[in-house]
């Protein structure tokens, strides 16, 4: 990957759900550079989560390309795909639902390492402990189960799980929307630190423009599956071009 290539690039990504008439994602194109944060905003149901799931390989798009470090994910064979999956991870909105209730935190954190055959028993244990410290948790959480933690802690565990494979891109799909404002601030701080220390890029999806303002370098607005605007955060919040973006900004203020 050359210096100018963006980390992630979507080209004309389109997606339609089987039962529905309307297209969920309509020829969306944008790119994210390494170490930066793109805030993807829009009303609920606009298609933001569908884009996230298409990037993660959870839904198959109808057409378009998704380039990661210059290679189209949709054309990869299973070995390349497995390697790519380690580099892109996702954090969901509902922290409680994103952790497997019957598995201990240790099992949850070890699963990606075991699945991708990263390291051996010793190095894996050391790694998950290091990552727990990074997200601000003690090693004594390992033997416990998700329901024993608050939603803020659960979200930290979800972030830890996302970090074990050393990703370069994290997708945060409304990752702070379900959290109290003080916990939200802590998680956002965590994201900023991760970006500073590890150079992780973020695709930050949220319906809340104020949160996006705190954390994003670039902003993209999705409306009914289409990309309306894609500019730097400063120029967006200084005065957006599109009428819909203006109305979003107005109703949020």
């Amino acid at each position: 990957m050359s210096a100018g290539t963006p980390l992630l690039e979507l080209r004309k990504l389109s997606l339609r759900f089987k039962q529905q008439q309307q297209v969920a994602v309509d020829r969306v194109s944008f790119s994210i550079n390494a170490g930066s944060t793109l805030g993807l905003a829009g009303a609920s149901g606009a298609g933001k989560s569908s884009i996230a799931r298409a990037i993660m390989g959870l839904i198959k798009p109808d057409s378009g390309e998704i380039f990661f470090k210059g290679e189209d994910i949709l054309q990869m064979n299973s070995r390349q795909l497995a390697a790519t999956r380690q580099r892109i991870q996702i954090i969901f909105q509902n922290p409680t639902a994103s952790l497997s209730p019957r598995r201990s935190i240790e099992q949850t954190l070890l699963e990606p390492l075991k699945h991708f055959a990263i390291g051996d028993d010793n190095s894996r244990q050391e790694k998950i402990r290091r990552i727990l410290t990074t997200v601000g948790l003690d090693a004594d959480v390992l033997q416990r189960y998700p329901h024993q933690f608050s939603s803020g802690q659960q979200q930290r565990i979800a972030v830890a799980r996302a970090l074990v494979t050393d990703p370069e891109l994290l997708i945060a799909d409304e990752a702070v929307s379900a959290l109290d404002v003080s916990v939200q601030a802590q998680i956002l701080q965590l994201f900023q630190n991760l970006q500073k220390e590890r150079g992780i890029a973020f695709l930050f999806i949220s319906h809340d423009l104020a949160v996006i303002r705190q954390i994003a370098h670039q902003v993209a607005i999705i409306y009914r599956g289409q990309l309306l605007e894609h500019t730097s955060a400063d120029s967006f919040f200084g005065g957006p071009e599109h009428a819909y973006s203006k109305s979003l900004l107005d109703s949020a203020a």
Binding site: G57, F92, S98, S100, H115
Partner: protein
């Protein structure tokens, strides 16, 4: 969490009562299987229709066989049928239900649903009779008939749960790292259905015992050995001449054991229920 469920169960007096009843009967069954009790169930050891006394605590039946011995052996029969049918139908039902739920609206689901529909529409006792006839008196004909028809309820319940849980983000997270479908189902989804399975298994156990009684009454049931159903069948003739030994022994045992199971199943459902909300 598991400690909490046990704690809740412990504090439910009816549930604990049920558990004790079931445990006592289970202990009797184990004793029979290990040759400690009920071994002389077929021996003609007394006069016919002796009333309850020191030699024969429950009296004797038409042939002079000891009713107590036969009742004890019947306990083992009930548990044997219960366990075999429950375990096999639960395994079969869970597997089919998991497949149908995971691939819902796909062809595995369509086939399995069609199969459950067909099996459920066959009148059970006709079906059992047909199987018993086809297998010409083989001892496991009755078990097979029950397993083939009982798995459908479990399958439907598991299918529903799997369909519900596969939308959860933790399942998406597993898929997101590329975990194969079947691994995801067995590692992440099914463990969250255990509480439902446990209660359903208790219900199937009761149904199996009930069904064995009726089948034996009809002569389609157990061939070698004695069961409470057979004893009840015998008693239908004896009662007319005023001999209630068989009836009381088998009927009371059946009633007490089923009551115990029902109390236990109810209590289990309550004790395990709050777990369900976290899944």
């Amino acid at each position: 969490m598991r400690q909490n469920a046990w704690g809740r169960l412990k504090s439910d007096r009816y549930g604990m009562g049920g558990l004790i009843i079931v445990a006592v009967f289970a202990a009797i069954a184990v004793c029979v299987w290990s040759g400690l009790l009920g071994q002389s169930w077929s021996e003609v050891s007394g006069e016919r229709w002796e009333s309850a006394g020191l030699a024969h605590w429950f009296g004797t039946n038409l042939l002079g066989q000891d009713i107590l011995q036969r009742t004890l052996f019947g306990t083992a029969t009930a548990f044997e049928v219960g366990l075999i049918v429950t375990i096999m139908s639960t395994i079969l039902g869970t597997t089919m239900g998991a497949l149908a739920g995971w691939y819902s609206h796909g062809w595995p689901d369509e086939i399995i649903l069609w199969l459950t529909g067909v099996l459920d529409s066959i009148p059970f006792y006709l079906f059992a009779a047909a199987i018993a006839f086809a297998l010409q008196g083989k001892p496991w004909a009755m078990h097979l008939a029950m397993i083939i028809t009982f798995w459908t309820t479990t399958a439907r319940i598991i299918r529903g749960e799997v369909m519900r849980l596969k939308q959860r983000e933790y399942v998406e997270a597993a898929r997101a790292i590329g975990l194969p479908g079947l691994t995801t189902v067995f590692r992440h989804v099914l463990p969250n259905t255990y509480h439902i399975l446990l209660v359903q298994a208790t219900i199937v156990f009761v149904a199996a015992i009930n069904t064995e009684v009726i089948l034996s009454f009809l002569g389609l049931g157990i061939q070698d050995g004695v069961s409470w159903g057979l004893m009840l069948a015998e008693s239908s003739l004896e009662v007319l001449s005023g001999h209630f030994g068989n009836f009381i022994a088998a009927g009371t045992s059946l009633f007490v054991l089923l009551m115990g199971f029902n109390l236990l199943a109810d209590a289990l459902q309550d004790a395990l229920d709050t777990r369900g909300t976290s899944a």
